[in-house]
């Protein structure tokens, strides 16, 4: 029992079906507004399901990223490590600067107030090198002729005298410490009674005396000079290099000379030269 197939009817049906579909597609394209309650209902029902699935997927992807994208994560890790290094460096630099600033403030508040120093312009500097040669006890500071530093400018720290500038480059200056035997300072010992005794303080660090690398200070005095251990030694201001009344050190020991004419006062400097990081250069030579 065969069915009769109406080919024309089917063709017409298919044609109109196609036409209506094409018209429908045309009318309901992107950006068109047409009532779609079924779609709206579907969306409202399915969206609560879709959201947690997507969130779960995102979570899984984030947590298993290292498996799927090992190379990417590795590259990212390397880049981040590099960045951490860089930032750590930056951070250290900043911290150093903050600390330096704090030290300068401390320096500025001053352990000693000196009316002679007030007259001169001072420039703060950081120690960038110590003892570049073994022959002299020197420091290199990060200020030079560009900042108005000149040779023979005295250099002082928070507690007292450090030395004097011996050579200047445009951006750095080399400071000969008072510990070095080459540098001599006209000084005065102020006893507890207030009397002053003049003399010359010199470093004990001598060229070639490699066995005693730590220099110290000594001062030759006459036997009758009234100097005792514990007395403060200050600059005398004679000689034109150092300003007056800058603390140098404290007398720790007095030894009589075998000849009986002289005695030597050993002086402990107030400044700890080993941990020195900041100093003021007093523009005396340049200011003249």
């Amino acid at each position: 029992m065969g069915k009769r197939v109406n080919v024309t009817g089917i063709a017409v049906l298919v044609f109109f079906l196609l036409l209506s579909v094409l018209i429908s597609i045309r009318l309901t394209g992107l950006g068109s507004h047409f009532p779609n309650p079924v779609g709206g209902f579907l969306q409202s029902v399915l969206s609560p399901l879709e959201k947690p699935i997507l969130q779960l997927g995102n979570g899984i992807r984030e947590h298993t990223k290292v498996i799927w994208d090992f190379q990417g994560v590795q590259l990212q890790n390397e880049a981040l490590l590099k960045k951490v290094d860089q930032l750590t460096g930056d951070n250290l630099k900043l911290k150093e600067q903050v600390l330096a600033g704090m030290r300068f403030t401390e320096l500025d508040q001053g352990q000693f107030r000196n009316p002679t120093l007030e007259k001169y312009e001072k420039v703060g500097a950081s120690v960038i090198n110590r003892n570049p040669t073994t022959w002299y006890r020197t420091l290199t500071l990060n200020r030079g002729s560009k900042d108005g530093v000149a040779a023979n400018d005295p250099v002082i720290g928070a507690l007292g005298l450090i030395g004097k500038v011996v050579s200047v480059s445009p951006t750095t200056s080399e400071v000969l410490l008072i510990l070095d035997g080459e540098g001599q300072v006209s000084a005065l010992v102020r006893s507890s009674a207030g009397n002053g005794t003049f003399g010359i303080v010199q470093g004990t660090y001598k060229r070639g005396s490699r066995l005693t690398p730590e220099g110290n200070l000594q001062m030759l005095l006459r036997r009758e000079d009234n100097v005792n251990a514990g007395d403060l030694v200050l600059t005398a201001g004679v000689g034109g290099v150092y300003p007056k009344d800058v603390p140098i050190g404290k007398v720790v020991e007095i030894q009589l000379d075998p000849t009986g004419l002289l005695k030597t006062a050993f002086i402990e400097p107030l400044v700890n030269f080993d941990t020195l990081e900041e100093a003021y250069i007093v523009k005396m030579a340049g200011g003249k």
Binding site: L17, L18, S20, V21, L22, S24, I25, R26, L27, T28, G29, L30, S32, F34, N36, V38, G39, L42, Q43, L46, L49, E50, I53, L54, G57, N58, I60, R61
Partner: protein, 168 residues
């Protein structure tokens, strides 16, 4: 139970491509699950029911997407017809053959979608169309070994089996 399961599968086919397969997409290419489901259904039904399922599934997707109403309706109807026609001639127990069939039918369906889109005024370069058609067809074919054995068995012996009224 059968209709509930089919409805759930339809809904999953609508949800999964945008969610789960969003993460498993392969340079933007996702499987067309609804097309895959339509092929499976058409393979296990008579011609008229196949085409009706195709029309229904297509209309559902069109309404869900909310644009170009009729595009998927027509496409999935054609896909259903083609699947039925091929399943009649090819041995549907052969999973390898089914995989190839899915690839072929999906390709035809995607080409139809592309042509209808061009007809609707979208301007896609031919290279993109070719890439998408081959990509989606391949992805759908890859889904067959994972999904088909289960669904095929269910259609034959399980919950998806069609039981005439007198049997119920």
């Amino acid at each position: 139970m059968r209709y509930v399961l089919i409805a759930v599968m339809f809904l999953l086919s609508l949800i999964l491509p945008g969610t789960v397969f969003h993460f498993w997409s392969w340079s933007g290419i996702k499987p067309d699950l609804l097309m895959l489901l339509t092929i499976y259904i058409a393979m296990h039904h008579r011609l008229s029911s196949s085409v009706f399922w195709g029309l229904g599934a297509g209309l559902l997707e069109d309404l869900y997407l909310g644009r170009y109403i009729g595009m998927y309706t027509l496409t999935l109807a054609v896909v259903a017809f083609l699947s039925y026609w091929l399943a009649e001639r090819w041995y549907r127990e052969n999973f390898l053959l089914t995989t190839f069939m899915v690839f072929l039918v999906t390709a035809v369906g995607q080409i139809l979608v592309a042509f209808l889109s061009l007809g609707a005024g979208l301007q896609w370069p031919l290279g993109d169309i070719a890439r998408l058609v081959i990509g989606v067809s391949f992805y759908n074919a890859v889904m067959v070994p994972i999904t088909y054995p289960l669904i095929h068995r269910s259609f034959l012996h399980g919950w998806l089996r069609y039981r005439p009224r007198y049997e119920r």
